[in-house]
């Protein structure tokens, strides 16, 4: 365990010294990695913003609760009381079946047709507005309300939900494809820098093996190299996204002012940033691992 710790510390120190020895080349490689990471990361962050923006632009969606015909006035009061206790419900409105019929007559001018009906076909309904704007929370709320007793259905403004869903689905697919393609590029870039490292450390590897270095010992600094390079690339990628958003926000502000609502791009959350860094480090490690596996055997001692 102690030996293991010492080895890891020494490998990390070795890599940092290597970085320090070739600062420009190291920085340029990290920048290339950062650019390839920043594209999917930026798009992903943008997508989250589109989600928010879409709900703002389309007005807040309302959920319509269709009550069962068996719901009497005490059941209705009960449901109202429950709805008012929900933290994520901003507004509750009740429209009784009679009110509904009146509105129908008045607004749509279907008076003649409805007058011919012997029974009011409309149900009692509640309309509910969520405090949230994003599709995910609203759909979650819809599902919860659906489960209430005496509620036949909880309906969401479908066009709104479908449009947003389609848009987000498209965006998510694009992010995924970009992430896969550019992740592959990252693995190749790391593999190549590690290959150069191995070639320039040929003597060192050969001598180390001759005096009893194990494969993991020889491999370790290169894995560190790849992972650290990927991690730094991830940090730079985040910086690129942050700066880009900052620059874009000037224009976004002006644009949304024209539409008389205010909206600014928000940066990715801490979890998303952590994910980006881990993704970068893991891919860097993978690139190094594949490269070391391929080239280490070429450096067998003689």
């Amino acid at each position: 365990m102690r030996i293991w710790l010492i080895h890891h510390r020494q490998a990390a120190a070795l890599v940092l010294r290597q970085f320090a020895r070739t600062p420009v080349a190291t920085f340029l490689t990290m920048l290339v990695i950062a650019v390839s990471l920043s594209l999917p990361a930026g798009l992903y962050a943008l997508l989250k913003n589109v989600n928010d923006l879409a709900s703002l632009a389309h007005g807040e969606p309302q959920i319509t609760l269709v009550l069962a015909s068996s719901a009497n006035s005490s059941a209705i009061d009960d449901i109202r009381a429950r709805l008012q206790k929900y933290a994520d419900i901003a507004e509750v409105r009740f429209i009784s079946r009679e009110q509904g019929l009146q509105e129908l007559n008045k607004d749509v001018g279907l008076g003649e047709i409805t007058a011919g009906l012997e029974k009011n076909p409309l149900p009692d309904i509640f309309t509910v507005r969520s405090t949230h704007h994003d599709a995910e929370s609203i759909v979650r709320l819809q599902k919860e309300l659906q489960a209430l007793p005496k509620v036949d259905a909880a309906l969401l403004d479908e066009a709104w939900a479908k449009r947003l869903e389609a848009l987000l689905g498209l965006g998510q697919k694009a992010v995924l494809i970009l992430a896969i393609l550019l992740g592959f590029a990252l693995v190749v870039i790391t593999g190549n820098t590690v290959r150069l490292q191995i070639l320039s450390a040929r003597d060192e590897i050969e001598v180390s093996k001759l005096i009893g270095a194990t494969d993991p010992f020889v491999r370790r600094p290169f894995l560190y190299h790849g992972a650290l390079q990927g991690l730094c690339g991830g940090i730079l990628a985040w910086a690129i996204v942050a700066i880009t958003f900052h620059l874009l926000n000037d224009n976004v502000g002006k644009l949304t002012d024209l539409y008389s609502f205010s909206f600014l791009l928000t940066l990715p959350s801490t979890t998303d940033i952590a994910g980006l860094l881990i993704f970068g480090a893991l891919l860097g490690w993978l690139g190094a691992y594949l490269s070391v596996g391929r080239h280490l055997r070429e450096v067998e001692p003689h």
């Binding site: 001598v207 093996k209 001759l210 005096i211 270095a213 494969d215």
Partner: protein
């Protein structure tokens, strides 16, 4: 401890560097291998450290069969075998101190304890005052002594020296062999390759003579 039995080595080009070599060196023995240039001395030593494998026959070192060892076991065998290379194999981007530290670093030594051992080894070969020098700044003989310091620093049970006195004048050569003798006296098995067979007589050690890859009787 070291046992060759009917060992032959044929290189990929078809050249046969060792033919039907059989001998045993007991633990704690000191022996010389001599022979003309190209006789197969280096090849024989390399087999003991699993750097070359026999084409036929078997080489057993510390109870392990070199030809049948797994790749992962080789490093641990090598940590127990000190190697003085004919071409030194020093790392030119590291100081003398760091070169000697490398085997301890690989074996996972505590750095403070390691530094103490490195200085002791450098002292033995008379290079303590050059610990900060890079190998290019050392003479041929000093490089050879540095290589010896690296070979002994991990206190191996077997020491293989490939022409360790090749670049040294008679005095230093004598000192080096004296040093090997003292290692031998504390139980280290020693095998020295040298083109000059008279050293064996001088040190009253066993002599194996190679002639075109075959052991002379």
């Amino acid at each position: 401890m070291i046992s060759f039995s009917q060992v032959s080595k044929r290189f990929p080009g078809g050249f046969e560097a060792l033919r039907d070599v059989t001998f045993t060196i007991e633990a704690g023995e000191m022996a010389f291998v001599s022979g003309h240039s190209g006789a197969g001395k280096s090849t024989l030593l390399k087999m003991i450290a699993a750097i070359e494998t026999p084409s036929s026959g078997s080489v057993v070192v510390n109870g392990q069969n070199i030809g049948k060892m797994s790749r992962t076991a080789v490093p641990y065998l090598r940590r127990n075998v000190g190697l003085v290379f004919q071409d030194h194999k020093l790392l030119f981007n590291r100081t003398a101190f760091e070169n000697v530290m490398l085997p301890l670093h690989i074996a996972g030594f505590d750095p403070t304890e390691g530094a103490r051992r490195v200085r002791a080894a450098l002292d033995k070969v008379g290079l303590l005052n050059r610990e900060k020098a890079f190998p290019v700044a050392l003479s041929g003989g000093e490089q050879q002594r540095l290589c010896i310091a690296r070979a002994i620093v991990n206190r191996p049970s077997i020491l293989l020296a490939d022409e360790p006195t090749g670049n040294l004048d008679a005095n230093y050569a004598h000192d080096i062999l004296e040093m090997f003798k003292s290692f031998n006296q504390v139980g280290v098995t020693i095998l020295i390759a040298t083109p000059d067979p008279t050293a064996a007589r001088e040190w009253k050690a066993r002599l194996l003579t190679l002639n075109h890859g075959a052991l002379a009787a």
